[in-house]
């Protein structure tokens, strides 16, 4: 049985193909102005990686910010539900998922089946979301995906005094003008984003182990900063960025199997 999950976010679109409950293909692509085109493109890429045709997909579940605009998705699920489900499938011991997206952040408490117990969501303030990183990367003419590596070269601790993205941008530019090292500044940036996301997450009681999902989790500097902000070792899952799409694909499997439970947790291939 072949099913798919498609997660169209504000910055990237993700698609996952599950064949008989195993990860057969996945893809990530930047979103274009049309969520539908973005979804179709990324789904096509994932299908090609899985060595199948898009027509072979029995059912596809959509999620993410652009989920309402995916005509090829039979049903849609909330991002909260998908991230919870995906994370527990990837690592059955996970009890809390912190997802930092391009324009939002969420903390989701889950039960052993991956069902959502409690969650908190922020899309009111850009601080604590991926947008903060993006704006600063742009201002300093750095690539978003290089930030983790750059921060790893930090030698001197530095703390930003501003939490607001707008104020922090000004602060960072003056730090650069004062001759502070870029790696130190980026490390401070990671900590600022992490602190903000953590103060949000703390409004629910976090059950360990906690994992970090979303594209931001691939940034080793952010991963480290989140661990520090939360005061605990985070659990690393193999596919943090496509986690929501994995969850969506698992829901797609449910609709095909009608009532059967999800496959063996932890069965992640390729």
């Amino acid at each position: 049985m072949i099913v798919a999950g498609c997660d169209v976010g504000s910055l990237t679109a993700k698609a996952v193909i599950l064949r008989d409950g195993k990860l057969a293909g996945s893809a990530v692509a930047a979103v274009s102005s049309s969520p539908e085109d973005s979804g179709r493109t990324v789904l096509g890429l994932a299908a090609r990686q899985a060595g199948i045709s898009v027509d072979d997909i029995a059912t596809c579940v959509g999620t993410g910010y652009g989920r309402k605009n995916l005509p090829f998705a039979q049903t849609v699920e909330s991002e909260i539900a998908c991230h919870g489900r995906g994370a527990v499938w990837q690592a059955p011991e996970v009890r809390t998922v912190v997802d930092i997206g391009g324009q939002d952040a969420k903390a989701i408490k889950v039960d052993p089946e991956g069902k959502v117990v409690q969650y908190v969501y922020n899309d009111k303030c850009a601080s604590g979301t991926g947008r903060f990183l993006e704006i600063i990367a742009e201002a300093l003419d750095l690539q978003l995906e290089d930030l983790g590596e750059i921060a790893a070269r930090s030698t001197q601790a530095l703390t930003l005094s501003n939490q607001c993205v707008v104020f922090a941008e000004t602060e960072i530019i003056s730090l650069v003008n004062q001759g502070r090292e870029i790696p130190d500044i980026i490390q401070a940036l990671h900590q600022a984003v992490a602190n903000r996301a953590t103060s949000l997450a703390r409004s629910i009681v976090l059950a360990p182990p906690v994992t970090l999902t979303g594209g931001v989790a691939r940034n080793s500097g952010m991963f480290k900063a989140m661990g520090k902000a939360l005061g605990m070792q985070l659990l690393r899952i193999e596919h943090p960025q496509i986690n929501g799409a994995i969850g969506a694909a698992l829901f797609a499997m449910d609709t095909v199997q009608r009532g059967t439970s999800c496959p063996t947790p932890g069965a992640v291939a390729g």
Partner: protein, 264 residues
């Protein structure tokens, strides 16, 4: 005996020279990189206008975010204290003062006798501060003053989806790309600004008369939008420039000091 008040803010610096509650001279300049440079420059300009020298100033009170760095300071006092006092001088009937600075906003409630009853301030988030308007004006290619004028001609103000400056910025760009008339975007920006200020003001309870101070108070669009949000009239001070409120308050405290009065 002349005294001085110097308010070194994030965007502008202000100096006021006073003698027996009369303004001798006042100057507003754009703040420089270093607060002490701003303070020296604005004070020298004010002194030149009043044909005075620094040596003739009996007492100088500093306020604003750069107040500790003012070189010729007799004493530094909080912005809340100075703005409350200055607003009261500008509008003696004021019971609520809403001050919008370049990077912060404050709401101050005054007792009948002018003492500060309650206050609240936001300097954590750019939303609801002058910075919000500055960012938006830049996107539209307008001067700050033009935002108010333009919005007055709006028929269909847009609604901005978020209070956050970052998200609202994306929203404004979207409206701009959709060829929405600039008047309607400007009005939407002023509404969003006023909504945020109203939240702050309502958190301490608004009591008339309401007085608005700070540079943003010169923006008619924001003022009108805020009046609508609060459901009350906002009085515009006639006795002086509302942007000078902090510096006026500082100078009034300086005067009390040389008269041997305590800080109230």
């Amino acid at each position: 005996m002349p005294v001085a008040g110097c308010d070194v803010g994030s965007l502008t610096s202000k100096a006021v020279l006073m003698d027996r509650s009369r303004i001798l001279a006042s100057v507003i300049i754009k703040s420089k990189a270093k607060p002490w440079e701003s303070a020296t420059d604005v004070m020298n300009q004010a002194l030149a206008r009043a044909r005075l020298t620094l040596g003739e100033i009996r007492y100088c009170v500093g306020t604003g975010y750069g107040r500790e760095k003012i070189p010729f300071l007799s004493e530094a006092l909080s912005e809340i204290a100075c703005h409350g006092k200055g607003a009261r001088w500008l509008l003696p009937s004021a019971r609520t003062v809403i001050d919008i600075g370049g990077q912060d906003c404050k709401a101050i409630k005054l007792e009948k006798d002018g003492r500060i009853a309650r206050f609240t301030a936001n300097d954590k988030c750019a939303s609801g501060t002058g910075r919000f308007l500055e960012v938006m004006a830049r996107i539209l290619g307008l001067e700050l003053e033009e935002l108010g004028e333009r919005s007055a001609r709006s028929r269909n103000p847009v609604t901005l989806a978020s209070a956050c400056t970052v998200w609202a910025q994306a929203d404004v760009i979207q409206h701009w790309n959709d060829k929405v008339p600039i008047e309607d975007i400007a009005a939407g920006i002023n509404h969003a600004m006023a909504a945020r200020m109203a939240v702050l003001a309502n958190s301490i309870g608004v009591e008339p008369d309401v007085c608005m101070t700070g540079g943003v108070s010169k923006n008619r669009g924001v003022l009108t939008a805020l009046e609508k949000q609060l459901g009350t009239r906002i009085r515009r001070p006639t006795k002086g420039d509302p942007q000078l409120a902090g510096a006026i308050g500082a100078a009034l405290f300086a005067q009390e000091r040389i008269q041997g009065g305590g800080i109230r």
